[in-house]
């Protein structure tokens, strides 16, 4: 019970961070909050009969979150090196 409420709170705080942060790194941290909360909730829902399956799926979720974080950080560092900008509203255009 307490874990579910904590996960819901962490997920909501992640959504809030994504909505209000101006720096890209803050938005990425918000996404990490959402993924972490989802992983814990997955284990809460799967505890008992489906514990091994939930742990396996949690491990795959961990891989997805790590890949997202690494690509996001590479984008942040590259964008800053190119344009010396790190705020989300300063990126009005996207070029290939």
């Amino acid at each position: 019970m307490i874990l579910t409420v904590a996960c819901a709170g962490a997920f909501a705080l992640g959504v809030y961070a994504v909505l209000v942060r101006r720096e890209i790194i803050g938005i990425l941290a918000g996404a990490e909050l959402m993924l972490g909360a989802a992983a814990v909730q997955l284990l809460v829902a799967g505890s008992g009969e489906f514990a091994a399956g939930a742990s396996s799926f949690g491990l795959i979720l961990l891989v997805v979150a790590a890949a997202e974080a690494v690509v996001g950080l590479a984008l942040i560092v590259t964008a800053y090196r190119r344009a010396k900008r790190s705020r989300i509203e300063e990126f009005g255009e996207v070029s290939g």
């Binding site: 307490i2 874990l3 819901a8 709170g9 959504v15 990490e32 799926f57 891989v63 950080l73």
Partner: protein, 164 residues
């Protein structure tokens, strides 16, 4: 209240405190420290829910890897004048309302594990391997492809960034 319930409550408190710090901190250093506390709380939750493999992976991959990468990115993006970079926010009642509504909905609809029951049995890495290499083989292979794609994407992004 049993020792297991106490451990679960401590892990939940760490998760919530870390998440609040990550969402609301104004200094980048505090943001990273709060994110570290959140990730540690998540690892403790995994342990309390009977998954030591996931807890170990969380500590090694996130606290030992991703958090260091975030620190590295902050050092690159920082102003270099010795002060901790600011992480600005545009606090908005609408965003707070959306987050609050989401919290209420999630707290109501998501499945719960009642407190006071016996702690779950530990899931052995062998059982996880059985699932991953059995019925979950497609997801396991896709995760490997995703990691390879992420590695290639980072190489392309960094290379294209250095050409200007």
């Amino acid at each position: 209240m049993s020792a297991h319930d106490l451990a679960v409550a401590s892990a939940a408190a760490l998760v919530l405190a870390g998440a609040a710090g990550t969402a609301l901190a104004r200094s980048a250093t505090r943001l990273v420290l709060s994110l570290g506390a959140f990730l540690l709380g998540v690892a403790l939750c995994f342990l309390a829910l009977g998954s030591p493999l996931l807890a170990a992976a969380q500590v090694f991959v996130y606290i030992g890897g991703v958090l260091v990468l975030v620190l590295f990115a902050l050092m690159v993006v920082g102003r270099g004048d010795g002060e901790s970079p600011r992480v600005e926010s545009r606090h908005d009642p609408g965003a707070a309302l959306v987050a609050l509504g989401l919290f209420v909905v999630l707290a109501i609809v998501t499945p719960k594990r009642p407190s006071g029951i016996a702690p779950p049995e530990m899931v052995s890495p062998l059982a996880v391997a059985d699932v991953l290499l059995g019925s979950g083989i497609v997801a396991f292979e896709l995760a490997g492809v995703l990691l390879l794609a992420a590695l290639l994407a980072v190489l392309v992004i960094v290379k294209s960034g250095g050409e200007r």
